[in-house]
Symmetry: C2
DNA sequence: CCGTGATGAGACATCAATGTCTCACATGGG
DNA sequence: CCCATGTGAGACATTGATGTCTCATCACGG
């Protein structure tokens, strides 16, 4: 047998391929298996050995996205301190996975089936609970439902990814754009406005 | 010839087909021409007589979306009064077209080519100008670029559409969700918060 | 009643992506 | 040196969507 190097190298290869596929599919969601293989620097045959087919590849990307998202949720410690700060931590931790999430977010093929990955429900629940906690503590407004705030968080993450990819926004502004619009909105929120009113 | 009924009926048919296609493709962006035809209540042959192919159909939907968007922009009178109120009018006017816009928003196939419809640039310019006006008048915060606010507007519109379609949000809340989060964000913005600070 | 034109149904070829296979080659350990 | 394993390249069949065609039917106006 080819021994210990086996699991290690394969895992690295697999992860590398998934990263490359995610990067490509985020830009061009209709990319061919050939293109994915080329982007990953491997042949189509090898790609097909690692992932039974396009569907399996997308499923693996979904699992990767869910895993990274849950890692981000853990690292953000959503239950600690003020909910506003937890949201800021969450966006910061989720930023590396945002590209992949943006791709998965538009892959409605994943959600139209009757059976969808239970991970999304778990993630949804945790973020929804965070916004609910913020409402109960009086930090967040209560006229926007936690479900909507959760959906908006993902939507804004995806929008920020596309803005940066199109060159109309700077990558360094990613976190500030997302979190400030989600939490504070577009209106000014300072003394000058109180004077006017 | 079949005369005056010709132009009239054809136009109605064409519009009806486009509406049905938009409704279906918004839910399932990979729908087949057969499915589109079935959804529109016509045969695949007739569908193919009206639109040379799938690409032509998507292009027609794009043109329809641009036209409806520009109609909404006109009706919203973006240059009148406070920018905040203009944004509210814009969301209200754009609501009927939101489903179609959400579909086009994720159809990145439309944007990956070197040549993209000039209508999007016009629309982007008008909305960007609105946010810039709001910043110059002191209504909007200046740390979020007009380009980002424009992107976020579309992103939130699409997110709201998907939330409603998934049943996790009520259609009647559509406008309030979108405009309130875009303008005001998730944080409370009232006296209680000032007392805390 | 008869023609014109649009439609629906279906057959058919085409095409692109996919899935499967074989084979030659390189690498790395024994 | 030899063998085992993973890989790249390419041929091949399959599949599903698409584009094109014909033909029977139907509605409508003359």
């Amino acid at each position: 047998m080819s021994h210990m190097g086996y699991g290690c190298l394969m895992a690295l290869d697999r992860d590398h391929v998934l990263r490359a596929a995610a990067a490509l599919l985020t830009r061009k969601s209709t990319a061919t298996m050939d293109e994915v293989a080329k982007a990953a620097g491997i042949s189509r045959a090898t790609l097909h050995r690692q992932f039974a087919g396009r569907d399996a590849l997308v499923r693996a990307l979904e699992a990767l996205g869910i895993a990274e998202c849950e890692t981000a949720l853990d690292a953000a410690r959503l239950d600690d301190g003020r909910a506003e700060d937890a949201v800021r931590r969450l966006v910061r931790e989720a930023e590396p996975a945002a590209g992949l999430l943006a791709f998965l977010y538009t892959e409605n093929q994943l959600f139209e089936g009757e059976e969808q990955h239970a991970g999304w429900a778990r993630i949804d629940d945790r973020i929804t609970a965070l916004f609910r906690r913020g409402q109960q503590s009086g930090e967040f407004r209560i006229d926007l439902t936690p479900a909507w705030l959760t959906e908006a968080l993902f939507g804004l993450l995806a929008s920020a990814v596309w803005l940066v990819q199109s060159g109309k926004g700077a990558p360094k502004d990613f976190r500030h754009m997302t979190v400030e619009l989600l939490l504070g909105g577009a209106l000014r929120r300072d003394e000058t406005r109180r004077e006017e009113s």
